[in-house]
Symmetry: C2
Subunit: 318 residues, 2 copies
């Protein structure tokens, strides 16, 4: 059943010994939602525990300040920021069909829970959690809760840059400031700090930049050998695919990543070229501005193949 | 005389044929303030012209959408985001002692104008311009004015990351969203787009990274030869000095830039080391977390010298 914030709060008030589920590969919004909700529930005298398929990455440790994982037999299950039960990961067997309440901001939510509060106009799920906090008269929006909510809002919008950001997102952030959130530390940890291996792989990737078609196209590549040499892991490549399109004048940015039998290609484009059409020629697809495809073979083959189809599209316009 | 927003609006209402002055090396806040004010004044049927020591950088061209520089003999002069007349640059002789109204957010404002509205709690001067817009009943906060104000707010806070950001800053941004500002384009242009030469110098700089003192210190350098080879200019190095301290675990980030007879050194530090104390040993200074100094001689001499004094500070703590 679909519920509103008020009904959601009533349901939470009836619960106790609650498991709060996060999605696998947890990000700032699912974790911010879970920990903020945990601290809200704690103020209501309720016991809750956060569960996730993956370990909580160390960078989010500031959210755990007042958290102590308690063992208990759950009497209720709440999922936050999870559109689909498949994202439970290893918790799928345990909790499939058993979620009492789902709080989510994905329009694609599968309505797998007994009750769901889904607001797809929210840039971050944490925007909904804020309303839930206000829904309980005895709950205070503490500095720690503000840190959690701000993290969700900031990370899910790329620090207020992505097109999903709204005036409401900024309004939420402003209220978290009033509650004393440590936005300088949070943004530094989320957006500025880079591991030694990330710095090393960035350097390697920059060394591969090549320009084509009168510099309207920039291409970079990442081989397995580069990953091994730098010790970088896949998660550290976030943002690297976007790099070529950040170069002035570049209409088509291409990133090739080596896989077992070929290269996975990410393409970002501006107004002139439709990435989904270009990638479709190689059996891939996606959006107008961001698409992908796969090319079998070695690096030179992959480059030649992708540049061939890009040339057709850029050529048509010249 | 110090004035409030209401008095400021009254003064503007009495003016006509107005020169709006920006500070030299114009940034998003001085330009956003100037163009927003120009468009507000245009709605009141007033003629105004923007003047600046430097050319307006091409990246801000979207602010000029409805702007046509008109020639007229100025009857009034307004300075925006300018703490000191010295920042007039080549306009100093023409306008020194002749500014009727200064709208600024620097606590260090020299009060050189006949009237000044200075609010040092504002992260961006554009926050004050917003209030001035609301001060005129007949002025509408158009999409174009919102683009100008958002630019000032976003650039002066490093996209809401710097410690000067406040809840009010977010509230202003939220209102600019409601007025339809093109925040995705603006942030892309201000924070993501990089010139070919910037990409080239970044790559060169990453190739110089070296770690010292158990990786608690990272050092990079930029020689004249690197600048010449990549075609990069000084303005494109913004952010490069901050790079070494973005590496995880690094407490002391050092950037050396070659000058005629030696190296200019920028130092960024975390909690453990006081950069101002370290730099003072070499005749420099600054803040706890960001300081600088100068070392005469070649690259090896400069490195050895700065690492010597850093070692003393890191050593004391070990």
């Amino acid at each position: 059943m679909e519920v509103n914030v008020q009904k959601c709060c009533e349901l939470l008030r009836e619960m106790n010994d609650i498991v709060i589920l996060c999605h696998r590969n947890p990000d700032g919004d699912t974790l911010g939602s879970a920990f903020a909700l945990h601290y809200i529930l704690a103020q209501l005298g309720k016991r809750s525990r956060i569960e996730c398929h993956d370990e909580i990455p160390a960078q989010y440790s500031y959210m755990l300040l007042d958290y102590k994982k308690e063992e208990f037999e759950p009497k209720a299950v709440v999922a936050v920021d999870i559109a689909d039960e498949q994202l439970f990961g290893e918790n799928l067997d345990k909790y499939r069909g058993k979620v009492d309440l789902c709080i989510d901001h994905h329009g694609s939510n599968k309505h797998y829970a007994k009750n769901w509060l889904v607001r797809d106009t929210a840039a971050a799920n944490c925007e909904i959690i804020e309303d839930i906090c206000y829904g309980f008269e005895e709950a205070e929006l503490t500095k720690l809760i503000a840190d959690c909510i701000y993290t969700g809002v900031s990370t899910d919008t790329g620090c207020f840059r992505y097109s999903n950001t709204t005036g409401h997102t900024h309004a939420v952030a402003g209220r978290m400031f009033k509650a004393g959130c440590d936005f300088v530390m949070i943004n530094r940890v989320m957006f500025e700090l880079k591991s030694l291996s990330r710095i090393a792989i960035e350097k390697e990737v920059l060394n591969t930049v090549e320009y084509h078609f009168d510099k309207k196209c920039a291409l970079v590549y990442i081989t397995k050998e580069m990953m091994e040499r730098t010790g970088a892991i896949e998660a550290e490549l976030e943002g690297v695919a976007a790099m070529p399109r950040q170069i002035e004048g570049v209409e088509v940015g291409i990133t090739l990543r080596q896989r077992d039998n070929g290269y996975k290609i990410s393409m970002r484009t501006g107004e002139e070229v439709d990435a989904s059409i270009v990638c479709a020629k190689l059996g891939g697809g996606g959006h107008r501005c961001a698409s992908g495809c796969f090319v079998e073979g070695d690096l030179e083959t992959a480059k030649r193949t992708i540049l061939g189809v890009v040339g057709e599209s850029i050529g048509e316009k010249e």
